[in-house]
């Protein structure tokens, strides 16, 4: 019996992993009904996950995970940290930098639409009073979006601008959910600020 993780059992797409009556197809595998077999669909390491003790289906799940350690990929519902790159009249573009607490290894783009900036009065949102280019925001992934970008949302109290630089160049201090103040010039700038802590 192989211990999980000890024997690196590499499989390639098309390799048979077992019978569909014995194992359940998981990530990276698929079952073919006419001959009742489970095949791998990715190149990677083959794992077998023991079944949940109370469930009706007592088959172990086989999955194939990528053999290279790769960075995080944003999924629907994951909280991400992004840097705003462009602010336009009806939406803002941002580069996703971290998913959860892991940094990404390739560039993902996200879009925050005007109606997803906050939860109240969504048609009166002024994008320039919510984000500026260069701000670091915490957002949630709404959907995988289109070929160009993920759709993000900051419509919660704990989502929004986490860190921003003022026009004088200093990191601003948040003073309310709509305003941040520059410590050097005492100027107040409007942003959609995230509520951190509490």
């Amino acid at each position: 019996m192989e211990e999980e993780g000890k024997v690196r059992d590499m499989v390639t797409p098309g390799e048979v992993l077992g019978k569909a009556s014995d194992v359940r197809p998981g990530k990276g595998t698929y079952a073919v009904p006419y001959n009742d077999l489970v095949y791998a669909s990715l190149t990677g390491i083959h794992h077998s996950v023991p079944p949940v003790p109370d469930s009706t289906d007592q088959r172990p799940t086989v999955e194939v995970t990528d053999h290279k350690a790769h960075g995080a990929v944003p999924e629907t519902g994951s909280v991400i940290i992004a840097r705003v790159t462009k602010v336009m009249a009806k939406m803002a573009s941002a580069d996703i930098m971290c998913v959860g607490s892991k940094a990404v290894q390739e560039k993902f783009t996200g879009i925050i639409r005007q109606q997803d900036v906050r939860a109240t009065e969504i048609d009166k949102v002024d994008m320039h009073s919510s984000f500026r280019p260069g701000d670091i925001v915490r957002a949630i992934v709404l959907s995988l979006g289109d070929a160009r970008a993920y759709y993000l949302s900051t419509a919660k109290n704990e989502l929004g601008v986490v860190s921003a630089e003022s026009m004088a160049g200093a990191t601003m201090v948040p003073i309310s959910w709509t305003e941040m103040q520059c410590p050097l010039t005492a100027q107040i700038e409007r942003r959609k600020v995230a509520k951190i802590g509490g």
């Binding site: 462009k86 602010v87 336009m88 009249a89 994008m127 320039h128 500026r132 280019p133 010039t185």
Partner: protein, 243 residues
């Protein structure tokens, strides 16, 4: 280095200043609020100039630097002349001589609905008003004034458009009427539209009038009022001699 006595802040007003000049010393002016306009920066207690130009002061407490340059920086509320570069589904892309193209929403006209969208070809000259111009974002334009009326905004047909510096545009739009326009208007009849972005459009019935008006305006930036009138006189005499 000699520092100007702080008791005379007006010593620099209406004079040419260059970046680095310290024009005000705040340590002597406590309990006063001063408003700084463009071109000035506060460095602890001294106000330094950032842009070359003339320092201006307006009562009670506004200081700013006025300069004339070819480049235009979009500001909300300015009326400018733009050239249509592209038309998309929801807006026209208009070049207003700024760092970024501006958007003119397709419905931003008096009585504009989805049914009567104007068809502007690429290259159309428009007189528009800037609604929003935030740094980093493309400016937004409108062909109506703030209350929604058309008010002379829209397409400029025929005529001749030429470029000028921003200082000349401000002079042409100043009140009372600037001397060159006053002198030309007494003898010739023409239509003119001045954009704060350094574009001027002139239209008249005969081409020679258009050329005279355009040349007179282009020559008038560095002349004083009297010199402008003399220059216009000479141009008009040439016009009478030739026709």
């Amino acid at each position: 280095m000699e520092i100007k006595p702080s008791g005379s802040p007006t010593s620099f007003v209406d004079q040419s200043v260059v970046p680095g000049d310290v024009v005000l010393d705040l340590s002597s002016m406590t309990n006063q609020t001063i408003k700084l306009g463009g071109g000035l920066r506060q460095d602890c207690d001294s106000i330094t100039v950032m842009k070359a130009g003339k320092l201006r002061y307006s009562k009670p407490n506004k200081y700013w630097v006025e300069s004339s340059q070819k480049r235009y920086e979009p500001h909300a509320g300015d009326s400018v002349l733009g050239i249509v570069v592209d038309s998309k589904a929801d807006n026209f892309l208009v070049d207003i001589k700024g760092p970024a193209l501006a958007y003119l929403p397709v419905l931003a006209f008096e009585g504009g609905t989805r049914r009567n969208i104007p068809k502007f070809e690429v290259g159309t000259l428009l007189y528009v008003r800037i609604v929003r111009a935030n740094p980093g974002m493309n400016p937004e334009l409108s062909c109506t004034d703030a209350s929604g009326k058309a008010a002379e905004f829209g397409q400029l047909k025929d005529g001749y458009m030429f470029e000028s510096s921003t200082g000349l545009s401000r002079m042409l739009l100043g009140s009372p009427t600037c001397p060159v326009l006053d002198a030309l208007g007494k003898k010739l009849s023409f239509e003119i539209a001045v954009g704060l972005n350094g574009r001027v459009w002139v239209n008249a019935t005969s081409p020679s009038t258009v050329v005279v008006v355009a040349n007179a305006i282009m020559n008038s930036e560095s002349l004083s009022g009297v010199q402008q009138r003399i220059m216009v006189e000479k141009l008009l005499q040439n016009l009478k001699l030739s026709c």
